[in-house]
Each structure stands twice: as C-alpha cells, then as structure tokens.
C-alpha cells in the first residue's frame, strides 16, 4: 500500500471513476453538440452528414434571433442590477443583526434556494396574473381600474428571477462581509463617520469583490434560466433557453437548436472571462 501512497498515480486512481463518468457523459456530449450545430437540417431529409455554417448564418442573419438574444441578456442584466440593489443592503442588514434574528433571516432569505424553482415560479404566476393576487389587491384598494399586465412580460420574469437568484448575491456579499474586520466600522465611526458614510466609504468598497462575483453568478444563471421564463413568458416572451427547447422538442430542428445553445454557451463564457479579467485588473492589487 505504501507504494501507492507516495505514488503520483494515486490522485488519478482516486478520481478515476469520476473522471471516466465526466469524460464520457459530459465532455463527449458537449463536443458532439458543438459538432451537431455545424450539421444541416431539412424537414424531409433530417440531419445531414456534412458540416457547414448554415445554422449560424441563419441565426446571425435573422432579426428574430437577435431580439431573443438581446431580450435574454437584458433580462439577465435587469435581474443582476435588482439583485445588487436589494441584495447588498439586505446582506449588510442581516450581518448587523443579533444572532437569533440573523439565523431566522438567513433561513427566510436562503431557504428558498432549496425549494423547487418550478414551485417558486408557480407562486409568482399566482401573484402576477391578470386576476392574480397583486392585481386583485390593487383593484380592491382602488389604486388601479384595469389590471396591470405582469404575466408574459419581461418585467415579470425579471421580478421572479430576482427572487430565484438573490440568495446567490446575498451569499457572495455575505462572504466578503464576513472577511471584514468588524473594528474597521468602529474605527471609521471613531474618526467621525456617520452610518451612511461608514456604509458607503468603508463597508461597500470592501464588499466590491463579493458584489462582482455575485453579479457574475446571477448574470450567467439568469441568462440561461429556463423554468421561470418558460412559465412566466410562455411562447410570447421567448428567451434563448426556451427557444432551444422549442427547436429540440417541438420543431425538432436539432442542429439549429444546438447552434443557438452553443452561441449562448460561448457568449456567457466570453462575458465571464472578460468580467473576471476586468475585476482582476481593477481589484487584484488593492484587494486580496
């Protein structure tokens, strides 16, 4: 046994089964999907054997797809902005609470993370519908005469996605709050800073790395979200992932669907890499 324990092969033996699973069932399928996206498709002949760029040409030449991609990224951006605006102060407030309240609020804020997205989105569908809870309430309070249209709108999707994604933002900001020296707030206070100044000048700048990594997670998950836009947007407000779904399971044009998915993958990866580079350049020296 001791031969093995010092052997360089040991880590590879330990992770061998997992590596085999991931190589065969993750890497291979993704490579195959990328290849699939270069194949041609006809409704009569099915998927051809020849490779070509026809699917990408079709997507990039069609305003319909532009609109879907633009909408998807705007929804993701809106969700990210809302998550920052709501999540950062909330994380700070929870951070300042006494232990009992803190555990309770963490449960309220993070518990939904473990509850099915389908179920949570159903809740939003009940809230946002034309005869939904919010419209019902506003009508009864005589604030509105006609119901507000919130179902099947990008705004409704952003609101529900914020609910789904905000725990990730709070987790990321919380992590950077935990790393802060609690005395740095006191130091600022002793030097004459009021609560708002303490937050803006001392706490917030130290949270920037957390906010940036949280934003990245929220943005990429929102851009590829499926259940929430599918339920709240339906066929009327299509995003990239619901379009891929339709291509695969309704139109059955797999190569085109694969090309759309590959474009989504590539654009999210590009944004992630660019964002990380930007963050490292701006904050690499000052923080960590």
């Amino acid at each position: 046994m001791s031969v093995f324990s010092s052997s360089a092969a040991r880590p590879w033996l330990l992770s061998g089964p997992a590596l085999a699973l991931f190589a065969s069932l993750l890497v291979t399928p993704i490579v195959m999907t990328v290849l699939l996206s270069f194949r041609e498709f006809s409704f009569y002949g099915g998927i051809s054997d020849t490779l070509g760029l026809s699917n990408y040409i079709e997507i990039l030449g069609d305003g319909y797809f532009y609109e879907i991609f633009l909408r998807t990224f705007l929804i993701a951006l809106g969700t990210t902005v809302l998550c920052v605006l709501l999540g950062v102060p909330e994380a700070y407030f929870i951070h300042r609470m006494g232990p009992l309240w803190r555990s309770m609020m963490l449960l309220v804020v993070l518990g939904p993370l473990l509850i099915s997205v389908v179920v949570r989105t159903l809740g939003w569908a009940i809230l946002l519908g034309n005869k939904g809870v919010i419209n019902d309430l506003l009508t009864r309070m005589e604030l509105i005469e006609r119901p507000l249209k919130m179902m099947y709108t990008s705004g409704g999707i952003v609101l529900a996605l914020t609910h789904v994604m905000i725990p990730f933002m709070i987790l990321a900001v919380w992590a950077s709050l935990q790393r802060q020296d609690p005395d740095s707030e006191r130091a600022a206070e002793s030097l004459g800073a009021g609560p708002v100044t303490v937050f803006l000048r001392v706490v917030l700048p130290q949270c920037v790395p957390g906010i940036l990594s949280g934003s990245l997670i929220v943005f990429s998950l929102s851009a590829s979200a499926f259940a929430t836009p599918a339920i709240l947007g339906g066929r009327r407000v299509k995003v990239v992932s619901t379009t891929v779904y339709d291509e695969f399971l309704n139109t059955l044009n797999w190569p085109l669907g694969a090309a759309i998915a590959v474009l989504l993958l590539v654009s999210i990866m590009t944004i992630m890499v660019a964002w990380t580079r930007l963050v490292e350049r701006r904050h690499g020296e000052a923080l960590q």
Binding site: P11, S15, L19, P99, V119, R120, L122, A125, I231, W254
Partner: protein, 266 residues
C-alpha cells in the same frame, strides 16, 4: 451591539415579505374549496390534496423523482468523495483542471447540458431510460457534493492521519477509521443537498425523460404551462413541506448555516 436603524428594519421587513410571498400564496391557494385559483382562499378545504390521490400520474412521477434522487445522489457521492480526497490534498499537475472539470456543470448553461445529454443518450438509444437519467443527474449534482467534501477535507488535520499511520494503520484503515468519520458531516450534507438538487431538477431532465420516466418537476412544469389550477398548488405545497423537512434534517446533520454560508458562518 450595533443596531439597525428604522430604515433597515422596514427594508428588511419588505424583503422578507418578497422572499416568502410566492411560497405563501402557493400554500394558501392549495387550501381553496373552489375549482379555480383564489387567494386568500374563501375557506379551508383539503379537496385539492385529496385530488392528488386521484392523479396517479403525479404520484408515479413523485416516486420516480424519489428513486432518481436516492440512486443518483448515492452514485455521485461514491464518485465525488475519492475525487475530493485527491483534489483536496494532492499537489499534482492537472489538479486545478480536474477541479474545474468536476465543478463545470455549475457554469455550463443547463439547457446546453440538457441537449448534450439528449443527443448523447439518443445515439445509444437509452434516452428516456432510468439509467440515462441517473447518469446525467449524477453529473449535475457531483459539484454540490464535491464542494462540501472539499471543505471538510480542507478542515482536516493531516497529522491525525499521520498519527494513525505511525501507529501501524493501513491506508484503508486510515480512511475508514480516521478520515471518513471526520469528513462524514460533509459527505452526508453533500448527499442530502445532491438529493434535493436532483429531486428539483427540471431544465436538464425535461430533455431526457420519456412518458414512463417523467419526474415530478417535469410533470408539474408541463401541467403549469397548460393550466394553473389548485391541483398544482396542492402538489407544490407537498413539495415545499417535503423540502422543509429535508432542510430540518440537513440542519441537524450538517448545520444549514454552514451548508449555505460555508465553513466560516457564525
């Protein structure tokens, strides 16, 4: 003790409402005696919970989800624990790449994973089979187990293992008697988290099920996209209660704070 001001308390109250509102309405709607969605319900009725029993489709789907969760979480744990031990302590070339690979299901858009699995499984003609579902789920949930076990391995004092070796224990004995008991909370926490993730998974699963292997989230999803009636609310309520129950179990076994916030949580 630093205190939050009035603004903070109001903000916090509204935020808490925002977080619980969708769950509260789902549960509220489930108790309606009427045949349509209404909130707050005009009465208290278990009519729609009884209706679940009349829909064997949903019950069958729930069983499939349960079995899928248990089998795939167990399989993924068996794969992820040794891998986490290798990554968590080894200094070998390719270590970072290996970790990135095992965590990649978190960053690749799920819809891409879904179609990739669909394409692959259908080539071997096993799309829609339970085995196919298990393998795909195992991949999706491996990162969750890996992260928790890695955190436990990082917190492990290696001199404990060295002490066991110096006392004459074999590699396997060291693992079974020293290492495993110490990382067990991470392993068990990871298994439960993986189970919940598998039980709730929709985006990938929707591509790779067939009518005989439809899981609960997929059944629920396709029902909601056609019609929202109190039946989906009552089923969702059961799902919520089941998840809360698992959360309590997780809290006891591993600590929810630690699970969600990482090791440093106070």
């Amino acid at each position: 003790m630093r205190r939050n001001g009035a603004f903070a308390l109001v903000f916090n109250g509204i935020f808490a409402l925002f977080m619980v509102a969708p769950l509260v309405v789902v549960i509220g709607v489930a108790f309606t005696p009427e045949g349509y969605l209404e909130f707050p319900p005009s009465g208290l009725s278990f009519r729609w919970f009884q209706a679940i029993l009349d829909n064997p489709d949903f019950i069958e789907a729930a069983w499939i989800s349960l079995e899928l969760g248990v089998v795939s979480a167990t399989l993924a744990t068996a794969f992820a624990v040794p891998a986490a031990l290798a990554i968590g302590r080894g200094r070998f070339a390719g270590r970072e790449g290996m970790q990135a690979l095992f965590l990649s299901p978190l960053t690749v858009p799920t819809v891409v994973l879904g179609i990739a699995f669909l394409r692959f499984l259908s080539l071997f003609d096993i799309n829609g089979t339970f085995v196919g579902l298990v393998l795909c789920h195992a991949i999706i949930i491996t990162p969750f187990i890996l992260r928790l076990v890695l955190a436990s391995v990082a917190g492990l004092d290696r001199s404990l293992e060295k002490a066991a070796i110096s006392l004459g224990a074999s590699d396997w004995t060291v693992f079974r008697r020293v290492t495993l008991p110490l990382i067990l909370p991470g392993v068990v926490g990871g298994w439960v988290l993986a189970f919940i993730t598998s039980f709730d998974e929709l985006t990938v699963t929707v591509f790779i099920v067939n009518p005989s292997t439809t899981t609960l989230p997929v059944r629920l999803f396709s029902h909601i996209t056609q019609t929202t009636d109190p039946l989906v609310a009552s089923i969702s309520t059961v799902v919520i209660l089941f998840t809360v129950l698992l959360m309590v179990v997780l809290d006891r076994l591993y600590g929810l704070d630690r699970l969600l916030m990482g090791e440093g949580a106070r």
